[in-house]
């Protein structure tokens, strides 16, 4: 599922993206990296995601697989990032 299509409250992990190098590096430095756990705070324009510290893809604690900050992305970027739902994670 694309990040831009995820509903509010959806919790998932980042699978892959097709971003340019500069944007990908910046997002990675901000904590939005492969296997980072994210929650959709607000879909749309801008797409606001919270990168979460704690559990990973299968619910196992992964340490700092992410962090607890909000990142706003323009819709065009959110359409180029794919996420997968975490089994058992609650959504809104």
């Amino acid at each position: 599922m694309r990040l831009s299509e995820a509903p509010e409250g959806f919790v998932g992990v980042v699978c892959h993206h097709d971003l340019g190098t500069a944007d990908a590096e910046l997002l990675r430095a901000m904590g939005l990296r492969p296997m980072a756990r994210v929650r959709i705070c607000k879909p749309g324009e801008p797409c606001i995601v919270q990168v979460l510290a704690g559990c990973g893809h299968d619910g196992v604690v992964m340490g700092a697989s992410g962090c607890s900050c909000r990142i706003g992305l323009s819709g065009s970027l959110a359409r180029r990032v794919s996420i997968e739902a975490i089994v058992g994670a609650a959504t809104a």
């Binding site: 944007d23 910046l26 901000m30 340490g63 700092a64 962090c67």
Partner: protein
């Protein structure tokens, strides 16, 4: 510069490099302050240094730096050694291809230092991390540790982390990082007393994180896992309720951070506020309300200190005069300018000081209240977290024109003055978009345009204040629209390139820090005075010279008036009765009104003679001659030689236009009075027709909305864009657009029968 860490890494050095004798008290201990954005780094710097800092920049870059002094405490020699804290730009990674990251890399490598500071590696690095967001911040710590410099980690916002149920084990963290760790809260001051000593005793870390990006990420994961724990959800709820009942904002921040476990999510306060503030319609409503309030406060409240400054430099004005005792009013009736004229003998030096230097300083200082207030409010808004949301809202509006949402704050600042607005573009990550913003920032209506708007809208809509207000607002809208369209045109021609989509961290909403806002305001104002003040002062002196020289003999009319005044005062004219035909005749021939007594009549004639002489002197000065020579260029816009002189002399500073017109038309530069405005409005051309027709006024208004009439802005553009060519492009583009638009307005109105 001392060699970093020689006294800590076991090499036996003195800490000053081979062969160098160091006075441990006199030599400052230089510490680089490093960290992610939104970690409270600036608040920490302000808390440690207060106003004991200076703003500088890194040579060859546009990056600003602050260097603060942490005063020593205690009796030991190490404690007596002052700390120079170098505030580096906030970055997410040292390895990014951004100018901020490059500056940090070079400073840590010892290749770059703030201007005025010795080049060399810092003696220590203090990495500021957010205790509520340690996971990501550890990546930066890993990058810093790999530099092998004496390091200390300041875990900031520790109070908020505790309240949110985040438990950080400082002993384990210190062991894992191999360097000192200090838990602190810059907002409350908790733990800060031990930080300076920890900086002085920082050691080279005895552990080195892996070099690769993936390696640092895995290392950070492991350190986080070992050192950070969360309370159970039930504990957190109890903590949340306690914090909520105390109205605790940091507790709210921490709650939002920790309510993240699977199944435990619920919308937080920040989520709910964001739904409104980033909504396409509701968000714009909130934005309009916030910006209206901000601009209202800036332009309403700043009026008072501006009036004080005006009264200090130019003389008593408004209600200030009413509060002064009579003796003080007598002494300062002409302000500093009057005092100089009163205290010094006549001559070039007196003219230079009163007409050039004092006026120039006054012209600089009068803008400081608006600029300071604008920065203060912007800083408060930024601290709440709202400005990041506003940037996203504006991104939607700006993006079709090729500008990013990051341009919003620079363009907003430009409504006070383009200089700080252009300097604020340093926060725009993409160079192309930054250049675009710099080029169009001067289109925003700055304070210096306001006197021209007041004059022309008053002339256009006398006794119709509502229409004058609409025209005034229209000027703001025209300037903003011209800026956006110019960005579109330049972005699709000279500065073509891909648009970088917007990525921005959105901090949790929180109450702003007054201390941070005040220190930021102080910093910005000082930078403005340093950058703009010297330019404006120099320009004022040059303009004074152009408008004053060459000295010419007074015209025949002036000689006759003064002769008449002398005869009246000496009693050579028979009687001062206004009905005495023998007396009134000569005065009437020169347009003198009947008068009551000898002295006042003589004074009236002398004042009139002074005004005529001043206007004649201005017309025959270098500036006047230049205006006459250039009049054919501006004739198609409806300007006669007097207006052309006003336009030409205000080329370097547009606010000069009104005072120049006042001098040319009335011989006095006291342009604030209603009577003076009337006199300017009644000015005649050489053929007897009015200077200010409706068509001329509209043409003039459009010209001043669009024209680049500000030399300091050009200087700052050249510096910030890294080349004179961009400043020249800005000048040519804005002047060309202003000329053609004013031409179209004047000729169009002429065709429509409006004169």
């Amino acid at each position: 510069m001392t060699e970093a860490g020689c006294d800590r890494c076991g090499c036996g050095g003195s800490g000053a490099g081979p062969g160098m004798a160091v006075d441990p008290v006199a030599t400052p201990w230089r510490v680089a302050l490093l960290g992610n954005p939104n970690t409270g780094k600036t608040t920490l710097f302000n808390r440690l240094c207060g106003l004991r800092h200076k703003t500088s920049n890194f040579p060859g870059t546009t990056q600003e730096s602050r260097i603060g002094v942490v005063r020593p405490r205690g009796e030991s020699s190490s404690a007596a050694r002052p700390i120079h804290l170098v505030d580096l730009p906030g970055v997410y990674s040292l390895e990014l291809a951004q100018s901020e990251s490059e500056v940090c890399r070079e400073v840590l490598a010892g290749n770059l230092s703030p201007r005025g500071e010795p080049v060399g590696s810092p003696d220590a690095v203090c990495v500021v991390v957010d205790g509520t967001n340690l996971a990501r911040n550890l990546l930066m710590v890993g990058e810093a540790l790999s530099r092998r410099l004496p390091t200390v980690v300041a875990v900031n916002m520790i109070d908020a982390a505790r309240r949110g149920g985040i438990r950080i084990d400082p002993v384990e963290l210190e062991r894992q990082l191999g360097c000192g760790v200090v838990e602190c809260s810059a907002r409350t001051g908790e733990g800060l007393e031990g930080l300076p000593e920890a900086m002085r005793t920082a050691r080279v870390p005895n552990r080195t994180p892996p070099g690769s990006r993936e390696g640092i990420e895995s290392w950070a994961d492991r350190v986080h896992e070992l050192c950070v724990g969360h309370r159970g959800l039930a504990d957190r709820v109890a903590v949340d309720r306690g914090a909520a009942s105390r109205g605790d904002p940091d507790g709210a921040r921490a709650r939002e951070v920790t309510s993240s476990g699977p199944g435990g999510w619920r919308p937080t306060a920040t989520d709910r506020i964001d739904r409104v503030c980033t909504h396409p319609l509701l968000g714009m409503g909130v934005f309009a309300a916030v910006m209206s309030g901000l601009l209202f406060v800036v332009f309403q409240i700043a009026t008072y200190p501006m009036e004080w400054i005006d009264s200090i430099f130019s003389g008593n004005a408004g209600w200030v005069a009413a509060w002064q005792p009579a003796w003080l009013a007598e002494l300062t009736g002409g302000g500093l300018r009057g005092l100089v004229e009163h205290a010094m003998p006549e001559g070039i030096l007196r003219d230079l000081l009163s007409g050039g230097v004092v006026s120039g300083i006054g012209a600089t200082l009068i803008f400081v209240p608006q600029i300071a207030l604008m920065f203060f409010l912007i800083s408060l808004l930024e601290d709440t977290g709202y400005l990041a949301r506003a940037a996203f809202l504006m991104d939607r509006l700006f993006r079709p024109f090729g500008l990013p949402g990051h341009s919003f704050v620079p363009l907003l600042s430009s409504h006070a003055c383009a200089l700080p607005g252009i300097m604020a573009t340093r926060t725009i990550p993409d160079r192309r978009q930054r250049l675009l913003t710099i080029l169009v920032a001067p289109f925003m209506t700055c304070s210096a345009r306001l006197p021209v708007y007041v004059l022309v809208t008053t002339l256009l809509f006398r006794d119709r204040p509502l229409l004058a207000a609409v025209a005034f607002v229209g000027c703001y809208a025209l300037g903003a629209a011209a800026g956006l369209v110019s960005a579109l045109v330049i972005g699709r021609t000279l500065l073509r390139g891909p648009d970088r989509p917007m990525i921005l961290e959105l901090p949790t909403y929180r109450p702003p820090s007054l201390r941070t806002a005040l220190v930021t305001t102080w910093d910005r104002s000082i930078v403005f005075l340093k950058n703009a003040g010297t330019n404006i002062l120099a320009i004022s002196i040059v303009l004074w010279w152009l408008g004053t020289y060459p000295k010419v003999d007074p015209p025949e009319e002036v000689v006759q008036l003064r002769q008449l005044a002398a005869e009246i005062r000496d009693g050579r004219l028979a009687d001062s009765s206004p009905h005495d035909s023998a007396f009134v005749t000569p005065g009437e021939g020169l347009g003198v009104a009947p008068f009551k007594d000898r002295e006042s009549s003589a004074r009236e004639l002398e004042d009139r003679a002074d005004r005529i002489e001043s206007a004649d002197g201005k017309a025959r000065s270098f500036a006047g001659r230049l205006g006459r020579a250039m009049q054919p260029v501006f004739a198609p816009l409806g300007y006669d030689w007097q207006l052309t002189v006003g336009v030409v002399t205000s080329f370097a500073a547009r606010e000069v236009f009104v005072s120049t017109m006042a001098v040319i038309v009335t011989g006095s530069d006291e342009a604030d009075g209603e009577g003076i405005l009337s006199e300017i409005g009644a000015a005649k051309r050489d053929d007897g027709s009015p200077v200010f027709t409706a068509a001329t006024c509209w043409s003039l208004l459009v010209y001043y909305v669009l024209a680049m009439q500000c030399l300091p802005t050009l200087a700052v553009t050249a510096r910030e864009s890294g080349g004179l060519k961009w400043a020249m492009l800005q000048l040519a583009w804005m002047s060309g657009l202003a000329y053609l638009s004013a031409l179209a307005v004047y000729q169009g109105l002429g065709l429509a029968g409006v004169t």
